[in-house]
């Protein structure tokens, strides 16, 4: 009983038109026209300070733009607060885990599913009676290999597994657009494979945008890459084209080359 309305079959899952954000004289987002197609596996990369985090905050509703539009599934959400955008089908994970640390993994996911189904405002029926919600949450955890951690408090789990729960919570919202902000950040390299495997198996109709620095992860998971520099989109395209693009190399390697000269 998802609240997401049926939508135009061919439109992009997420779109921004002329999205701008300035703090006084400092422009952090400069007329960004961005599209994330339905079912996409796209990555947003760029050097530090490129504006990737700002872009995520603008899209998810943490920051309000100076100009431009944001559309989820063809419907404009620019004026809507974060919670309303979630209801329209947007979900995100945070670069640093933002979970309910003292609650169990199962509880974390049920809270998300309960919100999605609109039962979270129910004042009088015991939460335990909403069997469907609990079972779905458990099934979701199970499919991510987290079944045995279901009743353990999140702060007792390894960081890598917490990162997976972060993704589970976002998935519980049955989103149309999923923003993964550095999904493997802070995870020991031995556990990165786990997270990549989960992302590889995400449902095909969700548009996934991964924001990351880890080139291995990006090139493995993304079918399309957007490169952002100084608040503007530099170039977009399939991974091979991006890897070969001289401008991209300049942006990433140019800094290193400069560094070598000054030494």
């Amino acid at each position: 009983m998802s609240v997401n309305k049926p939508s135009a079959p061919n439109g992009p899952a997420l779109e921004t038109r002329g999205l701008c954000k300035s703090f006084g004289a400092l422009t952090v987002a400069d007329a960004i026209d961005f599209r994330l197609e339905r079912g996409a596996r796209q990555a947003l990369i760029g050097p530090n300070g490129a504006g990737k985090t700002t872009f995520v905050e603008l899209v998810s509703g943490g920051l309000s733009p100076s100009a431009g539009q944001i559309l989820i599934d063809g419907a404009e959400v620019t004026e809507l607060p974060q919670a309303a955008r979630v209801k329209r089908g947007l979900a995100r994970t945070f670069q640093i885990n933002a979970l309910f640390r003292r609650l169990t993994a199962l509880e974390n996911v049920t809270l998300a599913i309960a919100e999605r189904d609109g039962v979270a405002g129910d004042l009088l029926r015991p939460a335990g009676r909403h069997n469907r919600v609990i079972e779905e949450a458990f099934a979701l955890l199970e499919s991510l290999g987290l079944a045995e951690d279901a009743l353990r408090p999140v702060n007792a789990l390894a960081y890598g597994r917490q990162r997976l729960i972060e993704i589970a919570v976002a998935l519980g919202l049955s989103p149309k657009v999923l923003l993964l902000d550095e999904p493997a950040a802070g995870v020991p390299s031995s556990d990165t494979g786990l997270i990549i495997a989960v992302i590889e198996r995400l449902p095909a109709d969700i548009g996934v945008l991964i924001i990351d620095h880890d080139m291995d992860l990006v090139f493995r998971l993304a079918r399309r890459i957007t490169v952002m520099v100084q608040g503007r989109i530099l170039v977009e395209g399939p991974p091979e084209a991006i890897a070969a693009d001289p401008r991209v190399r300049q942006v990433y390697l140019g800094e290193r080359a400069q560094g070598r000269e000054t030494r």
Partner: protein
């Protein structure tokens, strides 16, 4: 680790093994009544038989348990730190009191009127106060209570001002049960009202709404990110809590036939926090433990030397915060493990 593809959200676990079933059941069964929960009520009825000369104090304790319980909903469950809960307590008390002093002494309707007025104050002040967090929120709650305190002080023709409300006349309950001087009627009146309110609070706490409050307390950012209407939820619990606090105030007013400015002051708001920290915040039953201890101790001390009371309660607060953060229930938990 599962080797099949990711289960789509919306599909339930078809063949969950027994351990999984057990896990889900344990989680789902948290709201079921446990035998231990009958203890406070058994104790209350036993107290009636064992301490017949202390019933007036007992009635006050029961009413104050309701007050602390209402504060726990806001403080312990929703994580809203407020220094102005007395605003609702006092509103309920003065409403019931002014009605009774001006010709309408029917207790049940007076009680409901007190609860309704307090809920209104909670709703209106909540709209203002709950948009903020941290110090600003703390300040706003304090200012609301101080505002009402000042208003009650100045409107002395209605409220009696500094001297307090005089001339309250409360009629017998249902025309039958007169408020006697031994406090028998008062005791049962408070007990029944407390029971009904506790039942309501318990339902709310175990509902999906109540669970979402815990989420708001633990990580508000995450709640926004899953689409929860945070401000609205806080407003709802704030209003419910205000109604319960107002009920408690009305109970005290009706059973002691007196309302004074102290019903609205900072000390009154603080006492709710203190009683909760003794018993344990955010545990529903912290109030049942903390309030009797606090009030009985206060009763004893007021005979000896009131000033020392402040010293010891202050010292206790400092020690509890530093050493025993979870209160008595927290200590019990630690011992059990």
């Amino acid at each position: 680790m599962a080797t099949e593809g990711l289960v789509r959200p919306g599909v339930t676990a078809a063949a969950a093994p027994a351990a999984a079933r057990a896990a889900v059941d344990a989680f789902a069964g948290r709201h079921r009544y446990r035998l231990l929960e009958a203890l406070p009520w058994v104790a209350a009825i036993a107290a009636y038989a064992v301490f017949p000369s202390y019933l007036p104090l007992g009635a006050q304790i029961l009413a104050m348990i309701l007050f602390a319980l209402s504060a726990d909903l806001v403080l312990g469950y929703a994580g809203i730190v407020t220094l102005g809960h007395a605003a609702f307590f006092g509103t309920g008390a003065y409403t019931a009191g002014i009605l009774a002093a001006n010709g309408w002494g029917e207790p049940i309707t007076g009680l409901l009127a007190g609860a309704a007025m307090a809920a209104l104050v909670g709703l209106v002040s909540g709209l203002v106060v709950l948009r903020t967090t941290g110090l600003t929120l703390l300040m706003q709650t304090l200012v609301v209570a101080t505002l009402l305190h000042e208003a009650a002080n100045k409107a002395s023709s209605i409220t009696g001002g500094d001297d307090g409300l005089q001339g309250m006349e409360v009629w017998p309950i249902f025309g039958q049960f007169r408020f006697d001087m031994f406090g028998r009627t008062a005791y049962f009146y408070c007990l029944i009202v407390l029971f009904l309110c506790w039942y309501l609070a318990r339902r709310v706490v175990h509902s999906p709404f109540g669970r979402s409050l815990t989420g708001i307390r633990e990580n508000v950012r995450r709640m926004h990110a899953i689409g929860a209407p945070v401000v609205r939820r806080r407003l709802v619990i704030y209003t419910i809590s205000a109604a319960l606090a107002g009920t408690a105030g009305a109970l005290i007013a009706q059973t002691t036939q007196f309302v004074g400015l102290s019903f609205l002051n900072l000390e009154r708001s603080g006492s709710a926090l203190i009683m909760l920290i003794i018993g344990g915040v955010g545990r529903l039953y912290g109030a049942f433990i903390g309030v009797p201890l606090y009030m009985i101790a206060q009763d004893r001390f007021s005979e000896i030397q009131p000033v020392y009371w402040y010293f010891w309660i202050g010292l206790m607060m400092v020690l509890v915060v530093v050493f025993a953060r979870g209160g008595i229930l927290g200590l019990v938990d630690r011992l059990r493990r």
